[in-house]
């Protein structure tokens, strides 16, 4: 077995304690939630923290409930960062008000990963690449790459930027559903929209500052909002996405299309909000919407060779998967 490197383990009981600890330990520390991403990455020598701060005991990170509308905000689904993906996937509430999110959670890894893995960990998942998520021996034999220990990119030859893929299934769902992320750091709390949370930098694709913790996720719910999530993968489970697509459709009172949002991920470092979907005019014909957004998706999305499957095929699959997500979102009554 690949051994885990040595580290110091901390298990604070409150958020305040955790944030203070992270502020003290600085960049030598990492947050440990379910560990299903962090620990394999440590075994591969991709991250080498001296300290792990486990947030598994922090009660404030739990909870999945509706928050009533306030003067300034609509009714929201609030999910703690410590909620396990399995809980989220099985939650009747989430399945009803935000099916795309519940479906995304259900499609992560296998049952064991969902039993351990948390929503927060999924939101903050490191980007992935076939040249990066390998053992130290393998990466050494390759000559490393610029995301870790090296200077060259093997995906974009001569490229100066890392284009490792955002591979967290919940990210496109959260972006499409207009979620906000509540973040706490030593400098205080802030709220960042999911769509602003991710950046195009494969080295580090979030705006999270060192020492900050994602506390919870809140997404507006609406009576006539429908959503669906689709994932392209080779096997029925375990596999990270080769493409993941979340589609959200709002209807007006008459049942006509009011607004469409489609987000495609597992391309580069950042989930991509399709322009063509945002441009859909209210009242458009559903069949036309499906066809035109799917066709536009093919032009807007360019799968790379960062994942271990034929990039041409993945490119061909963009419109297919987008279509399937839209069809399901539009089919819901």
């Amino acid at each position: 077995m690949l051994p885990l490197p040595v580290f110091d383990y901390h298990r604070p009981r409150t958020l305040a304690e955790a944030v203070a600890l992270l502020a003290t330990l600085g960049d030598r520390a990492r947050v440990l939630a379910g560990g299903t991403d962090l620990l394999p990455n440590m075994k591969h020598g991709l991250v080498e923290p001296d300290h792990l701060v486990s947030i598994g005991r922090i009660e404030e990170l739990r909870g999945l409930a509706l928050a009533p509308a306030t003067a300034s905000a609509p009714e929201r689904l609030v999910v703690g960062a410590g909620v396990r993906l399995g809980e989220l996937a099985d939650s009747l509430l989430a399945r009803r008000v935000a099916p795309a999110l519940a479906e995304a959670a259900a499609s992560v890894g296998g049952p064991h990963h969902r039993a351990m893995g948390t929503l927060g960990g999924n939101v903050c998942l490191d980007t992935r690449c076939r040249y990066y998520n390998q053992t130290h021996f393998w990466r050494k034999a390759l000559g490393y790459c610029l995301k870790k220990d090296g200077t060259a990119c093997h995906v974009v030859k001569g490229g100066q930027n890392c284009v490792a893929a955002a591979s967290n299934d919940t990210a496109p769902a959260l972006v499409a559903l207009g979620a906000d992320l509540e973040i706490l750091g030593a400098a205080g709390a802030r709220t960042v929209a999911a769509r602003d949370f991710y950046t195009a930098d494969g080295l580090r694709n979030t705006v999270l500052a060192p020492g900050e913790i994602v506390v919870r996720v809140a997404l507006p719910v609406a009576v006539r909002r429908r959503s669906a999530f689709e994932k392209l993968r080779r096997r029925g489970a375990i596999d990270f996405p080769l493409l993941s697509v979340a589609a959200v459709v709002d209807r007006d009172e008459a049942g006509a299309i009011a607004r469409v949002d489609v987000v495609v991920s597992a391309l580069g470092a950042r989930p991509r909000r399709l322009r063509a979907a945002q441009d859909v005019a209210p009242g458009s014909d559903p069949a036309v919407v499906i066809a035109s957004v799917a066709a536009a998706a093919r032009r807007e999305c360019k799968p790379l060779t960062n994942l271990d499957e034929d990039a041409e095929w993945r490119r061909d699959m963009v419109p297919v998967v987008v279509k399937r997500a839209l069809v399901r979102a539009l089919a819901q009554g």
Binding site: M1, L2, P3, L4, P5, V6, G110, R130, N133, Q134, T135, H136, F137, W138, K140, A141, L142, L232, R234, R235, G236, A237, I238, D239, F240, D308, E309, D310, E312, W313, D316, M317, V320
Partner: protein, 783 residues
């Protein structure tokens, strides 16, 4: 039969009709003896820990081909916890499973031949220290030109991986039977095709592990995840230059092998050597990545094949040319090269045959035997060719096969002796179970049925090293408490051979399964058996056990007859008691029978052994593929193809297998299911790919995709019993044969579903979609 005039052969005598007594366990369903395995009580090799044990780790070469200029272990030895480092110079002896092609060193001596080749070994007081220390061993390499695929090996002989260093050839086999050219020229149809198989790994859940200890008497004990303890014993002795009397090999229960553990590996030699150097026990456990470097998986092959037929479906001739990518070392390659041609002539075949197979060395992890050794790839080429012929001739593919079946009790074109043969029943079974006649062609676009058939050996008549001794043996110890212990050299690797022995022995002696213990896989305790490969276990070890058990039974019967005052012929063995056949109320419990027999004959026990009759034809290579019995299989696969994505879903597979006699039907069904699973996995997912730079494309179970439970077809196992005249109670193999038709049946079903032929494995969605698009482009616009 040839067997009877060969004194070394002791096929168990067939009991006359009516004397079929026993405890009635043979043929009964049950999950014999597996409870400890499925409840986690079994202790695997890595579960073993000894006081003062050290942890080993191999230093592996990061280049596909390199000369080792120098190795400096100073930094590693300076790391706290590191106890010793060895290099190739400490074990300068070649080994190899085939005695004619030893070409591996435990640690490469001067040339490393693939990324992952072992060049040094460290041991330390904990696993982490060992891993870190391996990184601190400084190896200076001179990088050499490399051939990382078949084309490279063929085009660039100067890479010099072959024995003489002037080419990359590992083995060439060319055999011809009959007038191939004449018959092909006279054929009404000839189909020609080329298939590509990229290779696959065994991917057992348990990776290789070995633990070695040298005790103060000078006895070296090696616990290993091997499926060939006997060969390991011999090779350890040779390489370590220790007399075999000072070595004991123990094989703990194994968590999957599939052929990937059927020869010695670096870790066993290194654990032993380091234990000798340090005086402390040393354990090695391969990581998942190292498992892919140890490899010995299914060979990549490129097969060009022509098959001819007459208008009525009679097959005329087969002409095959095969390039085999062997990876860095010979392994079983000599046998693979023969098997790639020799095993094709059953169950349905032509009148003439020619094949030329060339195995090349490449700078890749070495290939070897994987379930269905050497014959799965050509089976794909041949069975898809038959499907094309059926289409060309307008015949039902099942009927086409029926027209060309090699009959029971016959000899194949290449001289293989065939005895029992249930292929006709297998074809009937899958035809009716799948609703072939009613459903084929009527399932709508994207859904289809395909058929394929095959045959496989039940062991070979050829020991890996030439000798006249038995190939398989057991010893029976009969305790007066009523416990019977079977000491067997077979390797229980999860396939159920311990249970098979228990069923045979218990049945023969009137015992229940709880009274029989099986002790296997230990060179000190059990007599020699050649190992768990070639599907030889049931046939050979089963026969050995049967003959030992019968010897004991005759003593029990004689003692009971004497006590009851009847003749032995009148005594019936039943479950729990021996009684008078005509008057079952008169009898003695089996435990008492044992006591009576022990009093009469002295301490009870017996040895039983098996050797094959003389088999095989008289040409060079004519014994390779010769088996005392062949199993037969037919599959019908049903697939659903997603026309938008190209994804193939294998919905259901009906698999009929002639295993002679199902000693334990539950176990046979398990083997059929496992085979179908593994075949479907190779058809759809698994691909062991080495890049141009010599790097494995993803030596882990995320990138190397084995199917999950959600990806497994529904499997309908159908057992066919042809009652083999020489098999133990009529049994033949069931472990490897049922895999063979999987891939071509799925390929043929894809054709039936969507009208395209995919000649490169696996049938990934991208390949299927590309083929669908190419077909759409080629179709005339009018359609």
């Amino acid at each position: 039969m040839a067997a009877s005039d060969d004194t070394r052969v002791r096929p168990a005598p067939r009991e006359p009709a009516g004397a079929n007594e026993g405890s009635g366990l043979v043929g009964r369903r049950g999950r014999a003896l597996i409870a400890p395995r499925v409840t986690g009580q079994v202790r695997y090799t890595d579960d073993l820990a000894l006081p003062r044990m050290l942890f080993g780790r191999l230093v592996r070469c990061p280049h596909p081909h390199a000369r080792i200029v120098g190795i400096d272990a100073t930094r590693a030895l300076a790391r706290p916890g590191v106890v010793a480092v060895i290099t190739g110079k400490d074990l300068p002896e070649r080994f190899g499973i085939i005695p004619w092609t030893p070409d591996e060193y435990p640690l490469a001596l001067d040339r490393a031949r693939f990324v992952g080749d072992a060049v040094a070994a460290v041991c330390a007081t904990d696993e982490r220290a060992a891993h870190e220390a391996a990184d601190l061993v400084d190896v200076e390499y001179e990088i050499l030109p490399a051939a990382t695929d078949l084309d490279g090996a063929i085009a660039r002989p100067e890479v010099g991986l072959g024995r003489a260093g002037t080419d990359n050839v590992s083995k060439e086999v060319a055999l011809a039977f009959g007038d191939v050219d004449g018959l092909l020229a006279a054929s009404d149809v000839v189909v020609e095709g080329e298939i590509h198989y990229e290779g696959s790994a065994h991917a057992p859940i348990e990776t290789h592990c070995a633990l070695a200890q040298l005790d103060k008497n000078g006895l070296l004990t090696v616990w290993s995840t091997t499926q060939v303890p006997h060969y390991l014993h011999r090779e350890l002795s040779r390489v370590l230059r220790l007399p075999p009397t000072r070595i004991r090999v123990v094989q703990p229960p194994i968590g999957g092998a599939f052929g990937g553990k059927s020869e010695p590996f670096s870790l066993e030699f290194c654990a032993a050597k380091l234990a000798m150097v340090t005086g402390r026990p040393v354990k090695f456990l391969y990581t998942r990545e190292e498992e892919f470097y140890a490899h010995r998986g299914r060979h990549p092959m490129r097969i060009r094949m022509k098959v001819g037929a007459m208008a009525d479906g009679t097959l005329t001739a087969v002409d095959a040319e095969t390039a085999i990518d062997g990876g860095a070392y010979s392994s079983f390659g000599l046998v693979t090269s023969y098997y790639s041609g020799q095993l094709l002539t059953l169950p349905a075949f032509a009148q003439a045959y020619r094949f030329k197979s060339t195995r090349y060395f490449t700078n890749k992890p070495p290939c070897g035997p994987k379930r269905g050794h050497g014959s799965v790839q050509p089976r794909f080429a041949f069975e898809t060719a038959l499907d094309k012929l059926a289409v060309a001739l307008g015949l039902d593919p099942i009927d086409l096969r029926r027209r060309n079946l090699v009959p029971p009790d016959s000899t194949t074109l290449n001289g293989l002796r065939v005895t029992s043969n249930g292929i006709a029943q297998c074809l009937d079974a899958v035809e009716s179970a799948s609703g072939w006649a009613e459903r084929r062609g009527k399932l709508g676009v994207g859904r289809g049925l395909g058929v394929a058939s095959s045959a496989y050996i039940s062991g070979t008549n050829y020991a890996i090293y030439p000798n006249d001794m038995p190939q398989s043996a057991v010893q029976l110890k009969v305790d007066r408490s009523g416990v019977v212990t079977v000491f067997s050299g077979q390797s229980e690797i999860g396939q159920g051979c311990d249970a098979m022995l228990a069923v045979i022995v218990a049945d023969e002696l009137g015992l229940d399964l709880g009274s029989v213990r099986v002790v296997s896989g230990d060179t000190d305790l059990a007599p020699v058996d050649l190992g768990a490969y070639s599907s030889r276990g049931t046939f050979m070890n089963g026969n050995a056990a049967l003959s030992a058990a019968r010897e004991v039974r005759h003593k029990l019967v004689a003692a009971v007859a004497e006590k009851l005052g009847v003749t032995p012929r009148e005594v019936l063995v039943t479950r729990g008691a021996l009684c008078v056949a005509a008057d079952p109320a008169r009898g003695v419990p089996v435990t008492e029978a044992i006591a009576l027999a022990e009093a009469k004959f002295g301490t009870l026990g017996a040895v039983g052994f098996y050797n094959t009759p003389k088999l095989g034809a008289d040409y060079r290579g004519g014994t390779i593929g010769a088996s005392p019995a062949y199993s037969f299989t037919a599959h019908v696969a049903e697939v659903a193809v997603d026309l938008e994505t190209g994804k193939v879903d294998v919905v259901r597979v009906w698999a009929a297998h002639d295993c002679g006699k199902a000693l334990c039907p539950t176990a046979v069904e398990g083997q059929i299911a496992g085979s179908v699973y593994m075949g479907a996995a190779e058809a759809l997912f698994e691909e062991h790919v080495i890049g141009k730079d010599g790097l494995h494309l993803g030596p882990n179970l995320l990138d190397y995709r084995i199917p999950t439970t959600l990806d497994v077809p529904d499997i309908v196992p159908l057992i066919v019993e042809s009652d083999d005249p020489e098999g133990p109670r009529g049994a033949k193999e069931a472990g490897e044969g049922p895999l063979h038709p999987s891939i071509p049946a799925i390929a043929n079903a894809i054709f039936d579903a969507v009208g395209v032929r995919i000649d490169r494995l696996p049938f990934s969605p991208s390949r299927v979609l590309a083929a669908l698009r190419a077909a759409a482009r080629a179709r005339p616009a009018a359609e």
